[in-house]
């Protein structure tokens, strides 16, 4: 406590303030509650990652020993070396980055435009398009799986290149574009119309008003949509398989790390999984490589977040500067 204790008569009050908090400070009780909550939940989220990490560092002896569960008796990077070789990691990483970054860029830009269009303008048919937007969000994927497959087939764009990714992203049909559009819609709608109208009256055209006012004001939305899009493009397996074609070869066409990781799948465990607990899991040596591969596959997303999360804080200031 930075403060000196107050005189005796006021002490009771002071303690109450320390424990329960005041308008300016969080009380001790509240702090305990907050940190307990955060740490508990953080533990739940961290547990599987730490488990994966520790397994991925274990050598043969640890893996085959039932007793050694958490701390490896000797740390080995062999699993990582194997995973890197099996997944052709660096090559796959580059190809994956090519897919995820370009698609994300297109997706963020287009969804921002569309979200803004919905939020800023009134035009006939707006309700209809809104309903279609929501519908495309909620229709179960298998409903349109066959027509979509036929469409992609007839368009002849599935050839292991970026084409299907870019075409869909530029046309606002990327992975979960609907949610991105809705996020932008929400953010742009909250910007007081008067601000934009004022800018337009000042002589800025509609397009200029979008770039100069709406875009900076939606910095937080841009950050969050970028994060999501990147993660979705990184994580998706089934659609990526469709977009790249199922005979695609990583030596010829593009690939993603999750696709490579999927090749570790043990199909028999998937079909007849009854007691697929870690103790009885199929080939535990290969499991450790799979864990290492998983760590390597999610690492780029964590890095991405690490750099982007600062933007959250900065975007507040930006919003302040542009004069909300």
């Amino acid at each position: 406590m930075r403060f000196k204790l107050p005189p005796k008569g006021a002490r009771k009050d002071y303690y109450k303030k320390v424990m329960m908090g005041s308008n300016d400070r969080r009380g001790v009780i509240m702090s305990v509650v907050v940190y307990t909550l955060l740490i508990t939940i953080a533990f739940i989220y961290l547990y599987p990652v730490l488990y994966m990490f520790s397994r991925s560092l274990m050598g043969k002896n640890d893996l085959l020993d039932v007793a050694a569960k958490w701390i490896p008796s000797s740390v080995t990077l062999n699993n990582y070396a194997s995973a890197i070789a099996t997944m052709d990691y660096w090559n796959s990483l580059l190809k994956n980055l090519a897919i995820a970054l370009t698609s994300t860029l297109c997706q963020v830009f287009v969804c921002s435009l569309v979200g803004y269009g919905f939020a800023r303008y009134n035009f006939p048919g707006k309700m209809l398009w809104m309903v279609i937007l929501i519908l495309s969000f909620l229709l179960p994927a298998q409903t349109i799986a066959v027509p979509n497959f036929l469409l992609f087939n007839s368009m002849n764009i599935v050839d292991g290149t970026l084409k299907p990714f870019l075409i869909t992203a530029i046309l606002g049909q990327g992975f979960k574009s609907c949610l991105c559009i809705l996020i932008f819609y929400n953010f742009h709608r909250q910007v007081p119309q008067s601000l934009i109208e004022a800018a337009e009256i000042d002589g800025a055209g509609h397009i200029k008003a979008y770039f100069q006012i709406a875009v900076p004001l939606s910095a937080a939305a841009i950050v969050v949509v970028t994060l999501f899009s990147f993660v979705w493009y990184w994580n998706e397996v089934d659609l990526v398989r469709t977009y790249l074609g199922s005979t695609n070869d990583r030596n010829v066409g593009l690939t993603t790390l999750m696709l490579e990781l999927n090749k570790f799948e043990d199909s028999y465990n998937a079909v007849y999984a009854t007691h697929a607990q870690s103790t009885t899991s199929t080939n535990r040596l290969n499991d450790a490589i799979k864990m290492a591969g998983t760590m390597l596959s999610i690492a780029p997303m964590l890095l991405m977040y690490f750099f982007l999360q600062k933007q959250f804080v900065e975007s507040v200031d930006k919003a302040g500067i542009t004069g909300e």
């Binding site: 599987p48 409903t143 929400n186 950050v223 397996v237 999984a273 870690s278």
Partner: protein, 312 residues
């Protein structure tokens, strides 16, 4: 949406002015990439699948459509053959009604905590991003198969041991609750981040102004944070409903899958299409209810805007 001129009153809202025309133009201009895309990649497929649903489908060197006895036969069949549907739908709705408020309020609380002044904020934010990475990808399935997507206490039975002293009518719901809470935690990653980004809209000056007016934290939450976040709450609710309703673990999605692919004689592909359209309609109704409950009244929005303007 009525665009016809009915009266010649110059103040009539329906009158088409040049300004309005320009607005229409720019509206469609901003939407144009998406409209093209949605027509090619969604509307076309949607219409095709609707067409499939009113035919008998045979895959013979392509998709062959054959007429049904009457065109809406599949839709009638869904209601007669899916005897499980009412109960499954009922239990889904109940779990939705229970989960939705929990997910929304939980992720809002976490977002506010992460936004507030806490120690190791970056570290916590990093950790709370994990469910976004893990739960949306194949990694989650792998972890579930390994039995580590839950808390260690759950899998090794020590929670059961801990609750062992309690009578079963108490311990069972507690275990159940604990189980579903963990699932809820994993399903809240996206919502937390959306809230977090929404909270960036609330500038500190507003809180300070409120504080000067004598409002405490509780009051400024209700009077400042919540109104600003209300559209985000709606957004998050829509997202939550849609993911819960169409996620791979949803029982009705599984029913649709097995009807579509596994029992072609009694049900079959086109029946599955009809089934999923009926299901989509039901979810749409649920979404409309959510929307009506959470939508901001237009006058409130104006008040909020005015307050913003006043504050600056």
């Amino acid at each position: 949406m009525a665009t016809k001129k009915r009266e010649k009153n110059p103040h009539d809202k329906r009158r088409i002015t040049k300004r309005k025309l320009r607005e229409w133009f720019y509206g469609y201009l901003f939407l144009s990439p998406w409209i093209i895309g949605v027509c090619i990649f969604f509307v076309y497929s949607m219409v095709t699948s609707l067409n499939y649903s009113v035919h008998k489908i045979v895959f013979d060197g392509g998709v062959q459509t054959q007429p049904l006895e009457f065109w809406y036969k599949n839709y009638v069949d869904v209601f007669t053959l899916e005897t499980d549907l009412p109960t499954t739908l009922g239990s889904f709705t109940i779990s939705l009604v229970l989960q939705l408020p929990i997910i929304i309020s939980f992720s809002l609380i976490i977002a506010m905590l992460l936004n507030g002044s806490i120690r190791c904020r970056s570290m916590f934010r990093m950790i709370f991003f994990l469910p976004v990475i893990i739960a949306t990808g194949p990694v989650m399935n792998m972890l579930t198969a390994q039995g580590v997507a839950t808390v260690p206490m759950m899998s090794d039975g020590s929670l059961a041991a801990l609750l062992g002293g309690l009578p079963s009518f108490l311990s069972e719901p507690i275990t159940e609750l604990f189980n579903s809470l963990i699932l809820i935690l994993w399903n809240s990653g996206i919502q937390i981040l959306i809230f977090l980004s929404g909270l960036q809209k609330v500038s500190n000056t507003m809180y300070e102004a409120a504080k000067i007016d004598g409002a405490n934290g509780w009051e400024s939450f209700w009077k400042i944070t919540l109104p600003i976040l209300k559209p985000i709450i709606l957004l998050n609710s829509v997202y939550t409903v849609v993911t819960l309703a169409t996620g791979g673990t949803n029982e009705i999605i599984e029913l649709i899958y097995s009807a579509t692919y596994l029992t072609p004689w009694t049900k079959g592909y086109s029946y599955g299409m009809a089934f999923s359209w009926i299901y989509t309609a039901i979810i749409a109704v649920i979404l409309v209810v959510v929307f009506l409950l959470l939508k901001e009244k237009s006058d409130k929005h104006v008040v909020y805007e005015k307050r913003l303007v006043k504050l600056h």
